[in-house]
Amino acid sequence: MTHVLTDLTVGSVVAEASFRVTRDSLVHYAGASGDFNPIHYRDDVAQSVGLSGVLAHGMLTMGLAVQPVVDWAGDPARVVDYQVRFTRPVFVDATEGALVNVVAKVGALDFEANVARIDLVVNFNGATVLGKAQARVNLA
């Protein structure tokens, strides 16, 4: 089903989701993306550059954060523009993993282009980890 722009209200929540990111997720993302930076799987290497431990790939956080928007839109092809700023690391505990929470709200409506800007609030451990996280969704 396709959403209609005129039914949307700026500020309303369109989707929410939580993702449990584990060390397994990081290994999987490393393989799928080709990003084998060891700070994403070795605590000793992460600590040697001043981090408290292994952190998630920023691009993994970016990639999963838009999924509630894709499911709301009904088709990944509707996401025509997506941007984020990486503001805080997501540390991934070896046993507990990391719980990343996403809330997607209508940020702006462009009636001429039939595009909804969906703004994402992405939290880990009580703090936002992405800034200016915006997906433009074509509802034409």
Binding site: G63, D71, V84, F86
Partner: protein, 148 residues
Amino acid sequence: MSVNPELQGRVFPSVAPYLVGREKVREFSRAVFATNPINHDPEAARAAGHADVVAPPTFAVVVQEATLAQLLAEPDGGIDFTRVVHGDQRFCYLRPIVAGDELTATLAVTSIKTLGGHSMVTAESTIVDATGAHVVTAISTLVVRGDE
């Protein structure tokens, strides 16, 4: 060593074409927790009007990666890889990436700014298909930390 300001405006040679495989799209989709059938099932993708499975919005980073490697390896670029942090990322699509696409990426450095000892390097990778049609632009801002 600091970032060479003359990098601004530099356009790099196109990298070798990247052939988007269906299983790669599925693997990447699983890795970013994408569960939409259009990412995984060719029949669902075709029913939605696509030629094959559609890649998640951030998949273009896989194609962009080789161009960023060029930038980091540029002999006179002055970008110390160990001091680079990913600052911003954006993808602007003209059409979605689908399995079967053969994509070619070309990087241009669009901006270099210095802020409090750090350099911000913005690079745009223009990604086109086998016919030369523009598919997506991937824009990264890399923050290069200055000497402490």
